[in-house]
C-alpha cells in the first residue's frame, strides 16, 4: 500500500511540491471539500511507531477549521494514536517515534521550536473515560486557567465554560461539591467545560461517549454540534452512527492507514473504497 518511502523525512521537504502530491493523494476524491486554505491540522506522510510496530502508516490528511471531523475504524486501527499525536500526548510513551510532517496552523508540532505545553494550551482534549480531578466542580473548570496564570474574572470564565458545555443549569447550585458526585455523562460534559475553559482552538475527543449511556451520549452529541461554532473538533469514535450523526467529514482508518477521507454524507452513502464500504456495512470491524 505505502509507496512513499518512510525514510524520507517530511520535515525538510514539507513545502516541496513533490511532497504535496504523494501517492496517498489518490484517496482524495473530487467531491472532497476544498479545505487546503483553512486547514488547521495537516499531516503529511505521518508514520507513528511503538518500538518496531507502526501503529499509523503514512497518513496524509488536512483537517478543516470549525468543522467536526470524525475518524472511524476498527479497534487497533491507529485512530487514537493519530489523535494523540496531534497534542503530543504520545510523548509519554518512551518507545514512540514519529516521522513525516504534522502541523498545527503551519507550525511543525514535532519541530525543534515546538513546546508541548504551549501546544496543549491551543489543542484541548477530552478522553474516553471521564477523568475529573478529585476537586470541586468549580475548581475542575478553573484548574487549567489557574495554572496558566489567568488574570480575568475566574467566576465568569467558569460560568461561560460550563454554559458552553451545556451543563451550567445542572451544576450552578453545587459548584462547590465534588465532581465525583456527578453522573458519568455530567462528568464528561464537565471535562469538556474544563477543556474549553482554556479557550482552545482545537478540541480533540477520543471516543468521548464510549463509557456513557445512550441519553448521555445524545447530550454530548448535541453539544459537539454546538461546539463547532467556536472550535475545530476532531472526534475519534468506533461508533459509526455517531460519526454519521455529528461529523461534517469522516476519515476511515484501517490497519494504521488512512483508507478514505471525505464528506460524511459521501462516506456513508457512496464510499469510493471497497474496504470503507465493507466496514460501514458491517462486514468486518
Amino acid at each position: 500500500m505505502v509507496i512513499v518511502p518512510e525514510t524520507i523525512s517530511g520535515r525538510q521537504e514539507a513545502q516541496s511540491p513533490s511532497r504535496m502530491t504523494p501517492p496517498a493523494l489518490r484517496l482524495r476524491k473530487p467531491s472532497q471539500p476544498a479545505v487546503t486554505s483553512d486547514s488547521v491540522i495537516r499531516a503529511e506522510g505521518v508514520t507513528i511507531r511503538y518500538a518496531d510496530f507502526a501503529a499509523v502508516r503514512d497518513v496524509t490528511i488536512e483537517i478543516p477549521d470549525r468543522q467536526v471531523t470524525a475518524i472511524i475504524g476498527p479497534s487497533g486501527c491507529g485512530k487514537s494514536t493519530f489523535l494523540r499525536a496531534i497534542n503530543r500526548m504520545n510523548d509519554f510513551i518512551p518507545s514512540m517515534s514519529i516521522s513525516g510532517l504534522l502541523t498545527y496552523r503551519g507550525q511543525d508540532i514535532y519541530g525543534p521550536k515546538s513546546d508541548a505545553v504551549d501546544l496543549r494550551r491551543r489543542i484541548g482534549m477530552v478522553f474516553q473515560k471521564p477523568n475529573p480531578f478529585p476537586k470541586t466542580i468549580f475548581k475542575n473548570v478553573a484548574w487549567g486557567a489557574s495554572i496558566n496564570g489567568y488574570r480575568g474574572d475566574i467566576h465568569e470564565l467558569v460560568e461561560r465554560a460550563l454554559r458552553r458545555a451545556a451543563i451550567w443549569d445542572e451544576v450552578k447550585d453545587k459548584l462547590n461539591q465534588s465532581a465525583f458526585a456527578l453522573s458519568g455523562g455530567q462528568q464528561q460534559r464537565l471535562c469538556i467545560a474544563r477543556a474549553i475553559a482554556l479557550e482552545p482552538d482545537v478540541l480533540l475527543m477520543d471516543e468521548p461517549c464510549s463509557a456513557l449511556d445512550p441519553i448521555a451520549t445524545a447530550r454530548i452529541e448535541d453539544l459537539i454540534d454546538q461546539l463547532k461554532t467556536h472550535y475545530t473538533v476532531v472526534l475519534v469514535t468506533h461508533n459509526m452512527q455517531q460519526a454519521a450523526r455529528v461529523s461534517d467529514l469522516t476519515a476511515f482508518m484501517y490497519m494504521g492507514e488512512l483508507i478514505e477521507f471525505d464528506a460524511t454524507d459521501k462516506i456513508f452513502t457512496t464510499p469510493s473504497e471497497q474496504r470503507t464500504q465493507d466496514y460501514i456495512t458491517g462486514r468486518f470491524g
Binding site: M89, R120, N131, W143, G144, I147, C191, A195, L198
Partner: protein, 299 residues
C-alpha cells in the same frame, strides 16, 4: 495407587500442620509480650496512681527523692520523632515524587533499591554516626556549646533512617493515582511540576499522610540510635541542643543496669514499654485506617 495417594495425603497434612505452627508462633509471641507488659504494668500501677505516671513532670525513678512522672520521657520521644519528621518528610516526599513522576524506569530501578539499603543499615551504626560525625562536625560548628549528647543529632539520624519508609510509601501512593488524571492535567497544558504538585500530590494526600504517620511511629520506637545520640537525661524541654532521654532509651538504661527484679524501679520499664506500645499501636491503626480509605477512593 491408593498407597501413594495415602502418603501424599499424610505429607500434605504434615506440611499444613508445620505451616500452621509457624503462623501460630508469631501470634503467640505477640500475645506473650502483651501479657508480660500488662502483668508487670499492673503491679506498677498498684503502687502508683495512673494519673501521677501520665502527667507527672519529673522522671527520677532511680534517684532519691523518687518521682515517676513520665512526661519528660514522652517529651523527649516526641522531640526526637518530630525533629526526625522535619528531616524526613521533605526529603522522603521529594524522593517519592522523583521516583514516581520524574525518574525514567531505569533510574527508578537503581534508586529504589539503594533507598531500601538505607533501611537495612543497623540502627546502632546510625547512633555511632550521630555521635561521631553529626554532632561534632555539623551541629557543634553551627551551634557552639551544644551537648555532645543532644536531641538534634538523634533527630537527624532517625530522620535519615525513616526516609526510605516515607519515600517508598509515597511512591506507592503516587503510582496509585490513575494515569487518566495525569493525562487530563497534561491536556490542560500543565507542566510536569504542576501535574506532580497540583494533581498527583493532592490526589494521593491520604497515602502521604499514612506514610508520615507510619514513619512517625517508627521514629517513636527507634531505640539504639537514640540511646547513643541523645543521652540519658530525662528533661521536660523542647531545646534540641541538650541531652534528653526517650522512652526507649530509658528502657535500655534500666535493662542494662543492676536494678533488682520485682522492685518498683524495675517495673517502671514495663509501664513505659506499655505506654510506648500503645502509642505506636495507635499511630499504626490510624495509618492503616487512612490507607484503607485511600484505597477505596479509586476502586
Amino acid at each position: 495407587m491408593t498407597g501413594i495417594t495415602g502418603i501424599v495425603r499424610i505429607k500434605e497434612r504434615l506440611i499444613h500442620g508445620v505451616l500452621f505452627l509457624c503462623a501460630l508462633a508469631s501470634v503467640a509471641t505477640t500475645a506473650g509480650i502483651i501479657w508480660v507488659l500488662a502483668a508487670e504494668s499492673y503491679l506498677f500501677f498498684q503502687e502508683l496512681h495512673l494519673l501521677d505516671f501520665l502527667f507527672g513532670l519529673r522522671w527520677a525513678p532511680l534517684l532519691e527523692p523518687k518521682s515517676f512522672g513520665v512526661l519528660p520521657l514522652v517529651c523527649g520521644t516526641f522531640l526526637v520523632a518530630g525533629g526526625a519528621l522535619l528531616v524526613a518528610v521533605p526529603i522522603g516526599l521529594g524522593s517519592g515524587i522523583f521516583l514516581s513522576e520524574y525518574a525514567p524506569s531505569r533510574v527508578r530501578s537503581i534508586v529504589k533499591p539503594i533507598l531500601e539499603i538505607l533501611a537495612g543499615i543497623p540502627t546502632v551504626v546510625y547512633g555511632y554516626f550521630a555521635l561521631m560525625f553529626v554532632t561534632p562536625h555539623i551541629i557543634q560548628p553551627l551551634a557552639p556549646g551544644t551537648d555532645i549528647f543532644n536531641a538534634a543529632s538523634a533527630a537527624i539520624v532517625v530522620g535519615i533512617m525513616i526516609i526510605p519508609t516515607i519515600a517508598s510509601l509515597c511512591d506507592d501512593a503516587f503510582r496509585a493515582v490513575p494515569q487518566s488524571l495525569r493525562e487530563g492535567a497534561y491536556a490542560l497544558s500543565a507542566t510536569r511540576l504542576e501535574v506532580s504538585t497540583r494533581v498527583v500530590l493532592p490526589s494521593a494526600m491520604s497515602g502521604v499522610i499514612a506514610a508520615v504517620i507510619l514513619a512517625f511511629a517508627r521514629a517513636i520506637g527507634e531505640t539504639m540510635a537514640v540511646t547513643l545520640a541523645a543521652g540519658a537525661m530525662p528533661r521536660l524541654t523542647l531545646n534540641p541542643l541538650v541531652s534528653i532521654q526517650t522512652m526507649t532509651s530509658y528502657i535500655v538504661q534500666v535493662s542494662l543496669g543492676d536494678t533488682p527484679h520485682g522492685t518498683i524501679e524495675y517495673q517502671t520499664i514495663f509501664a513505659v514499654g506499655m505506654l510506648l506500645f500503645l502509642v505506636t499501636l495507635t499511630f499504626n491503626v490510624i495509618a492503616q485506617g487512612v490507607l484503607r480509605r485511600f484505597r477505596e477512593a479509586y476502586e
